[in-house]
Amino acid sequence: MRKFLRKVFLIDLIQGLWVTFRYQQPKFIYTEQYPAQRPKIAERFRGAPRLNVNPETGETLCIACNLCALACPENLIVVGSERDEKTRRKILTTFTYDISRCMFCGLCEDACPVDALELTQDFELASYSREGAVWDRQMLEEGPRPTKYAY
């Protein structure tokens, strides 16, 4: 008899509907209003690369050892350097990074011995052309430039 009543009065369906109705309170809203609300990104997030610069002197931290280029599975880093005759060290001249083929695996960041190459929290990497996805040293040192929206 009980089963018959359960069936006729749609109890199992009403139980499910009750779960859904419980979530109608505004405090359960989970949606993030992007781009007005930017998400909180973790510190270790592997986003856009950045070439770090010594904050006091303004010189690049990169020692042009080429380890990042060797570590990259896609071979998209090209490190140009020249040898300084006086100190017998390599000086970085050009550094090119192709974002369009990068899979943000973090192997280059792990390989860098001086923490010069770092993957930041920037994920807004769209550009209007294919060439815009190839970043040179100046773009890499400037770092992320998120667009501010006026609301």
Partner: protein, 370 residues
Amino acid sequence: MPDSTFLDATELVLNMGPQHPSTHGVLRVILKLDGEKVIGTECVIGYLHRGIEKIAENRTYAQFAPYVDRMDYVAAVSNGLGYCLAVEKLLGVEAPPRAQAVRVILTELNRIASHLIWLGTHALDVGAITPLFYCMREREEILNIFEKYCGARLTTHAFRIGGLQYELYDTFEQDVRAFCDMLLPKVDEYEELLTGNRIWIGRLKNVGILTAEECKAYGVTGPLLRAAGVPWDLRKAQPYSGYEQYDFEIPTGTNGDSYDRYLVRIQEMRQSVRIIRQALDGLPGGPIMGKVPKVIKPPVGEVYVSIEAPKGELGYFIVSDGSTQPYRVRVRPPSFVNLQALDRMCRGALVADVVVVIGTIDIVLGEVDR
């Protein structure tokens, strides 16, 4: 008008094309129908073939690890675990106990994430739209934990050969415990929404039955085999990465139909929470990286290592020729082998049941096609 024979045709060939909301990816199923009854099916795959096995022959062992995540992209951590275990076996190194425990925690979180997506999308295919939102909300918490740990939500590249790259972040234990505490009542909620629901039972019971003998014959593993009644789980049968220390049950079903598979996966989520709590309680200290040479050059040989991925038995057959690059990496994808049984499961079903069966096998086309 001539006595046209095409009007008497009883067999209709319908294309459930690669673009379809219910095929879980780019899967093309050619259905031979008699009215609405399915007489035969044929799967056409390969739309997502990226040549990962060929790429492996041109990358070093460490460089290939990020590519492995892209196969089963829903549960990327398991793929990484299988690959790292296989290369570590070739090298003869073992990850230290702390790394193994953290690997277990992340892999079980990843199993819950995969089952959440499965539940959400399967329910959506059948018509129940609500569980999708709830499952995605829980999955967000897991992905946040992954992001805080290794830096990426989906293609995690969480493990390295020999152990882990990153030490646990500060609030890891709190986050994971909070997540486990939050998840169990939510799983009860999903059950409340679906398990007793007459529409769900009507759509899923006795649909896509695959008996234990057929499962073994077709090489089907994972929740499908367990729902058919065979209590076989690689984590218990051939434990890896410290699973023998943890106490958990293997949920099994009786009929081998879609409803049993649903129940098995729900229970697996609960068992995963149990394993995570045990692993967190007993988390050892110590190093996180084993003794691995700087240049990974395993001796000449071959090895086959398989793990219990959320979808079945994921195996890696790696042949090394002594150089820094693998000679052949063969990935035995569970979804590829499980999808073969689609034809068997759809005999005599209706078209709507094909959607249910594809959902219940839990395929990810990235893994089927590699």
